[in-house]
């Protein structure tokens, strides 16, 4: 780890000010990605702005939305009775991220801001049509994810909360990388709250070179009939999918079908 300055502001405004003032400064949420990167000397920030004191943790459910503060840990989401009741798939997803230690440090805001193409939360955000709330504006999930490790966030812009509309049904199924346990393929399917062609959303993480994406062909098929059988004839092209020692692009394309069908079956 290279030397850096450590700051722990007590408000989002102060944090944003510190980050805006220094292009080399980085925000620290749970640190479950950033700290290993620093330890490997792959990044050299001038300052780490720790968001732990900014009061961004917390969960509330109201008006058909689950609102989760950016600094809420995965363990808190997984263990929240409110989340479990409103969007059980989201609680299950959070409970399947990393390991216990990671879940008690890692945060939803950190995960979404980093936008690792194999992370889990991005699939939930996209499939549920979440709103990413920042200190400056609200960004629709469809506009937020802009390729691997790339988001719509601007310099000095911090996620403060994520709002998930409560669906009628939803499920997330992941085929993990056996070593890292990140998603080789993760598929989140959701139906509702609205009906009709736009009422079904299927988001795929882990698979694509350009990060999380919506599977429009599957969405169309499921809008007609929300059943695993409806996906039987939907093939996914291997083009543009990741390939590594654990999974070729072809294998990933196949797994998208398998995981999607299982997610639909699990959503009921």
């Amino acid at each position: 780890m290279y030397d850096f300055t450590y700051q722990k502001p007590s408000s989002v405004a102060d944090a944003a000010k510190l980050l805006s003032a220094d292009a080399e400064a980085k925000a620290l949420a749970g640190g479950m990605t950033l700290i290993p990167v620093l330890k490997q000397r792959l990044n050299k920030p001038s300052t780490l702005v720790d968001l732990a004191g900014t009061g961004l943790a917390g969960i509330s459910v109201a008006g058909g939305k689950v609102r989760i503060g950016a600094m809420t840990t995965h363990a808190a989401v997984a263990g929240s009775a409110e989340v479990r009741k409103a969007i059980p798939a989201l609680a299950t997803l959070a409970g399947g991220i990393g390991d216990k230690e990671v879940r008690h440090r890692g945060t939803i805001g950190g995960s979404l801001a980093n936008n690792d193409p194999t992370a889990d939360y991005s699939a939930a955000a996209l499939a549920l049509g979440a709103a990413i709330v920042t200190n400056k504006r609200t960004i629709a999930a469809d506009d937020y994810f802009q390729g691997m490790f790339t988001t719509a966030l601007e310099p000095g812009e911090l996620i403060t909360a994520v709002e998930f509309p409560v669906p009628e049904k939803a499920a997330y199924t992941k085929f993990p990388n056996p070593a890292s346990r990140y998603a080789i393929v993760g598929v989140f399917v959701a139906q509702g709250p609205s009906r009709g062609p736009s009422g079904v959303r299927v988001a795929v993480t882990g698979a694509s070179e350009s990060g999380v994406f919506r599977h429009k062909a599957m969405e169309a098929a499921l809008a007609k009939s929300f059943s695993a059988a409806a996906l039987a004839d939907i093939a996914t092209s291997a083009e543009g999918l990741n390939s590594d020692i654990h999974a070729s692009a072809e294998y990933r394309a196949h797994l998208i079908g398998v995981m999607a069908r299982r997610a639909v079956a699990a959503a009921g």
Partner: protein
């Protein structure tokens, strides 16, 4: 307190320390004035070092010194020695190129140490190592056996033609050729044994210290054999006499073989501490472990069995290419030869065997022993081959094994590959395992799995291994450059407690418990009053360390011999005190008594007399009660057994999981059944890792792809089933405890059982063999190829 002697499942003494965080590991050691070393390693597989500019790094804050290979050479530091010389078919010695402590001239693998920066803090040392300006001239690299043997391949060592370290053979070629000519059938199998990266929980570390007053060097290191390190480093690398070099291996968090060898970092910190007259510490980061700890396995083999019409094995011919990596690690040459080809008879009475092994240099991390070391490779090859024979001939795989077993009444049994098995009963372990695994109930379980949409398979392996390493004269004739006896010093204290100093080393095996049980049992001393000391050359007379499941068979036997001497001396003291003849003194349960009388003295009374010799046969006997024994084993020991695995495959994803595992092993006499169970389970966990999950991958250019746990799959708890362990005992006939060893059986017997089970699960896809690791994608490819695409959905 219940019975705590031989056979009791006593809880491990050492665990209170480990589980409460009170263990004392090398990285916990900090000495006054200590500096930190950071090693700059090659980030490329093969390159000439055109120049190293140390000026900028040397001037950085806190930096005390920067050394390169040239500095070590100038100070007459030797290369890392190899402890075993294997000879070629023609009798000439193997190629043994130099293995410099820091690279000289060129680097030969990613991770090859090039220079060291030493500074006041770990971070400063790391900063300086990073700042070293190295000018490279990249060379083509040979990243695999295949690449290294290709015509015109890059030479890892300029003076080793064809990258061949040795071309060795064992067995009777003429007899094998004749049997093949007359055979009813020949079954052939090509297979690889995947390369593994050990990953002990504790990364390697070393602290060097120099005492200017006495001129003594001390090395604290994560080693399985501190005396061997002292011998190798003192005699060959740093040219220090034993009297001026102390090596301490304190608590060590797992080794699995990877901490046997003498590594460059040990020499670097010891030498630098002397140069700077300040302690120097180095601790590996996990990423460094991946590219500097010796790897294991990595064979490419062809096996052919000649059969008669009934499936009797007539002759076996094996050709193996073994990857040595870029340099010869300490014991590397003997692993694919004397610890591999000698085991190719397995548990079968195959009359003729011929094995040819070519060891190959590549631009990869050196390869050496890893849990099982050669024997897993032999067991895997043979047990896969036997299953393929069953498949090709249509003979039931259990029947085929039984038909070819060495019968229980054939011991001692001479194999055609140089070993003499002293005892065993392979039908017994097989029967017990089949029963424990409910073998006959498998069809119902397969049918039930089918209903759930899963493919279920069952697999078996009946393996043997050789451990209790090893008779010195035998290994000496085979090229070992050391003896492989073990040493024990037993000290009975004046008040009756006992300290045992052993040359074996515990790094997870539970020696402090097992050895205390033996001493408690033999001398009748309460278990709690027995202290086991290991890991310090200043405390222990000598020792060859722990590997090859040798601690109990060899180290325990040395302890027995030393205790025999204690008892013999005690009898003489007792005879004097009780005015009886020595021949009439009996010793039992801690008490010396005169036969046929009620006169007796406790060991405590005898010990007190020995140290306070007021009434003592001082003219004929020295005071004190302390004895040392060196025990050289008469033969290897031969644990054997039967493992049965059941797997289920998800046909949609290809993911296989082991759903049931039974291991029935004959490890000889069991001292502590709980520790044996744990050792077997740990070994099986690593076997499951090798079979399904682990595999080091280098790309075509010699870059390591599986350089961290993000890509290299270590088995986790949720990858493992509940592992049922049983024992069926035949005693070792040639050591005083009748023990055989249990540390490696799990890792040896399990991979073929698991692969056999997966192949069985895929029976409907007409699969003959799949190379490890059986990763989901590999299995999915087979399933996909075997079905029309839509049907696979």
């Amino acid at each position: 307190m219940g019975f705590q002697g031989i056979g009791a499942a006593v809880r491990r003494k050492e665990d209170a320390r480990f589980l409460s965080g009170s263990g004392h590991y090398t990285d916990d050691i900090n000495r006054p004035g200590q500096l930190y070393a950071s090693i700059r390693r090659a980030d490329r597989p093969h390159a000439r070092i055109v120049g190293i500019d140390t000026a900028a790094a040397s001037a950085m804050p806190g930096v005390v010194a920067v050394y390169t290979g040239a500095d070590l050479q100038a100070d007459n530091v030797g290369g890392l020695p190899c402890g075993w010389q294997v000879k070629n078919k023609d009798g000439t010695p193997m190629a043994e190129p130099p293995h410099p402590v820091l690279a000289v001239g060129k680097v030969r693998h990613v991770g090859d140490p090039v220079a060291v920066a030493i500074a006041a803090t770990r971070q400063q040392a790391k900063d300086a190592a990073e700042q070293l300006a190295i000018t490279w001239q990249d060379l083509p690299a040979a990243g695999s056996i295949k690449d290294a043997l290709a015509p015109g391949a890059a030479l890892v060592h300029d003076d080793v033609p064809g990258n061949i370290c040795y071309d060795w053979h064992l067995g009777d070629k003429a007899a094998v050729d004749a049997a093949f000519a007359a055979a009813a059938r020949i079954v052939r199998l090509d297979l690889t044994n995947n390369r593994l990266i050990p990953n002990a929980m504790e990364p390697r570390a070393a602290v060097g210290e120099f005492d200017r007053a006495t001129g003594e060097h001390t090395l604290y290191t994560t080693s399985q054999n501190p005396h061997v390190i002292r011998l190798l480093m003192g005699a060959f690398v740093l040219h220090l006499p034993e009297s001026r070099l102390r090596v301490v291996a304190p608590d060590v968090g797992g080794g699995f073989g990877s901490k046997i060898y003498h590594y460059a970092e040990e020499a670097i910190v010891t030498w630098a501490a002397g140069k700077l007259a300040r302690p120097v510490k180095w601790t590996a980061e996990r990423t460094e472990s991946f590219i500097s700890d010796a790897h294991g396995r990595d064979h490419v083999s062809t096996a052919e069995m000649a059969l008669d019409k009934d499936g009797n094995f007539l002759a076996l011919h094996v050709k193996t290419l073994a990857n040595m990596g870029a340099y010869l690690s300490t014991f590397a040459p003997c692993i694919p030869t004397y610890l591999y080809a000698t085991l190719l008879a397995g548990v079968y009475k195959t009359p003729a065997i011929y094995a040819e092994v070519k060891a190959v240099f590549t631009n990869t991390v050196p390869v050496d022993a890893y849990r099982g070391a050669g024997r897993p490779e032999a067991a895997y090859l043979l047990e896969r081959l036997v299953d393929v024979i069953a498949r090709d001939t249509g003979i039931d795989k259990v029947t085929l094994r039984r038909r070819n077993f060495i019968p229980a009444d054939a011991f001692p049994y001479h194999t055609p590959v140089a070993l003499q098995y002293d005892s065993g009963n392979y039908q017994a372990t097989l029967d017990a395992a089949l029963k424990a695994a409910d073998w006959s109930g498998f069809p119902a379980r397969r049918a039930a799995a089918h209903v759930k949409g899963k493919l279920r398979g069952i697999g078996i392996s009946t393996y043997i291994e050789a451990c209790g390493i090893a008779p010195s004269a035998v290994v000496g004739s085979l090229g070992a450059r050391a003896g492989l006896y073990e040493v024990a010093n037993v000290r009975v204290h004046p008040t009756g407690g006992v300290s045992v100093f052993t040359g074996a080393h515990s790094h997870g095996q539970g020696h402090e418990t097992t050895f205390a049980q033996i001493v408690s049992d033999q001398l009748g001393v309460p278990f709690d009053q027995v202290e086991v000391v290991h890991g310090d050359t200043a405390k222990i007379p000598f020792g060859m360390g722990t590997y090859g499941s040798r601690s109990l068979a060899v180290g325990g036997s040395a302890m027995m011999k030393a205790m025999d001497k204690i008892i013999a001396k005690g009898k003489r003291i007792a005879a004097h005190l009780m005015e009886a003849s020595v021949e009439d003194i009996e010793f039992k349960s801690g008490t010396f008594s005169v036969a046929g009388t009620d006169k007796s003295k406790t060991l405590g009374e005898i010990a007190l007399t020995a140290y306070v010799p007021h009434n003592y046969p001082i003219d004929e006997l020295e005071p004190g009660l302390e004895e040392t024994a060196f025990y050289d084993p008469k033969n290897f020991t031969f644990p054997a057994g039967c493992h049965v695995a059941e797997v289920e495959i998800d046909p949609d994803t290809g993911a296989a999981s082991v759903v049931s595992f039974v291991a029935v092993d004959d490890v000889g006499r069991v001292i502590n059944p709980m520790i044996v169970e744990g050792q077997v389970q740990g070994g099986v966990a690593q076997g499951i890792g090798q079979a399904l999950l682990e595999g080091a991958v280098y790309d075509g250019n010699g870059q390591i792809v599986t350089g961290s746990m993000m890509d290299y799959t270590i088995p986790r708890a949720d990858d493992l089933p509940s592992i049922k362990v049983g024992t069926e005992t035949t005693l070792c006939t040639h050591n005083p405890l009748g023990v055989k060893g249990c540390g490696e059986v799990g890792a040896i017997g399990s991979p073929p059982a698991i692969v056999n089970a997966v192949v069985d699960a895929l029976a409907e896809y007409d699969v003959r063999h799949i190379d490890m690791p059986l990763a989901p994608q590999k299995i999915w490819s087979i399933i996909r190829a075997g079905r029309p695409p839509m049907a696979a959905e």
